[in-house]
Symmetry: C2
Subunit: 249 residues, 2 copies
DNA sequence: CGTAGGCTTGAGTTCCCTCAACCGGAGTGG
DNA sequence: CCACTCCGGTTGAGGGAACTCAAGCCTACG
């Protein structure tokens, strides 16, 4: 696919961008063995590194950067099933074949674990298997929320949900604060960098680019957001957006 | 929740309705130990046995019968995230709390595994942990398809997808046959028993009952299905339905 | 300065939703 | 045994949210 790029194997950040990644499932002293079992990739923006239907051979951890996961129809319709960022795990949604395609959003660094070497590792480190299961469960919980969004939410609610989701990804603790209505601890405004295009957002939310554009305009007019530039949005009223996202408009 | 109903522990069918269930992850001789760690429930139709947001304490295996999984909005909107049948696994989509509610569709029998006893079991039977992960992966693949359905398919395509999905559940090998276009091996007509109401189908597909009803009428007029009675539908042209479900129409 | 690509805006359309009436089988009670 | 009600499902009329198509705008880039 792509040659290794020679990053030293000891560099843990290469598969452990965050706590949610898998390295915390094993002891510090065993890390080198885990890393030795993986290969590191450096991909340019736009590169498709997993193709739907392709025989599934490996997991990936995003070491740095972002990617989008999607499914394509023969007539061009597209559904983006998720955006992933540093530390996220990829390739659990596969039995024989990958259930989605994945494309780099900007340059990214990946850590690749072939299934078979992973199988050896999970035998040596039982915690790892458990960790993978936990990761899959997390993923399933997120999917559940996405079903509700696509099946039952209006365009307005979808966009609000999207902003809240993105904000929660970039601000640790925000999700909890919003859920508990502890408004005091919520930063009044949150600035988001959105590397994806309008078309990506639309395909993620099951809408068209025009509807996304128009809804953003409305949010702007209502003072809910400020559009710094086309890829940078500032949320001016997170609590209200959260409220809208839940259908309480 | 409900008293055990005294079924002998040796009765494997109680947690192993099918190959996809978890018993095949351990040796025959160890089964009694697995079963001893579980409790058996017998619930009446309509009983809600998992509630969204409730602290997650256990897995369930459907030993017999069917159930629906769903999420509720405060304003009454509902999204059904899945129907499960004998042998299916429940409760993986949970981190701290369940991400969905579950309700019996007709009388059902359940096998309940508390997380903590399950943790002991997975230590004794490493295969079990792997099996759980595989189950979660299967689930994720299905979810992926549901995202596409809810995000990008028309009402017509959704109903066709629904029929194909239900047919594949009740006819072993059908899915493969349809994917490979080996039409010879596909039974010409398939009769389906659908225990769920129109309202359930609508909430599963992100539609309204009226749209479901109207679309069925159209399918009938086109000779694609025959409606035996309100809960029994015969698919008259599975290949065509599969075609429609994929957007080629 | 010109072009291309992504984004926005406008006008018109459509698919599905909403609301309302109707239908028919199951259960109840006189 | 029939009348009544209830409830899930069907059918029809009308409306609206989001889509489609088309034009215009802005920024990036050669």
């Amino acid at each position: 696919m792509v040659a290794l790029d020679g990053i030293p194997v000891r560099d843990c950040t290469y598969c452990c961008g965050r706590t949610k990644s898998i390295c915390n499932a094993i002891e510090e002293k065993d890390l080198p063995r885990l890393l030795a079992a993986s290969s590191r990739l450096h991909l340019p923006s736009g590169r498709i590194f997993i193709e739907e239907g392709e025989s599934a051979q490996a997991f990936y951890v995003i070491a740095e950067g972002r990617a989008k996961l999607f499914n394509l129809f023969s007539d061009g319709r597209r559904q983006i099933s998720g955006f992933v960022a540093t530390g996220d795990f990829l390739g659990l949604a596969a039995s024989e074949r990958y259930a989605f395609s994945a494309e780099a959003l900007g340059d990214i660094k990946l850590c690749r674990f072939a299934y078979e070497t992973m199988d050896h590792l999970t035998e040596q480190f039982p915690h790892l298997q458990k960790r993978l299961r936990a990761e899959a469960s997390r993923e399933l919980v997120k999917m559940q929320a996405r079903l509700v969004l696509l099946g039952r939410k209006s365009a307005r609610e979808r966009l609000a949900s999207f902003f809240i989701e993105q904000a929660c990804c970039s601000e640790d603790g925000l999700e909890e604060a919003l859920n508990q209505r502890k408004n005091l601890s919520i930063p009044p405004v949150i600035s988001l960098f959105l590397p994806m295009s309008r078309s990506d957002i639309a395909d993620y939310l099951g809408l068209t680019i025009e509807t996304v554009s128009r809804t953003l305009k409305i949010f702007k007019a209502e003072g809910l957001i400020k559009i710094q530039d086309v890829k940078t949005v500032t949320l001016l009223n997170t609590v209200r957006l959260k409220f809208i996202s839940e259908g309480n408009n």
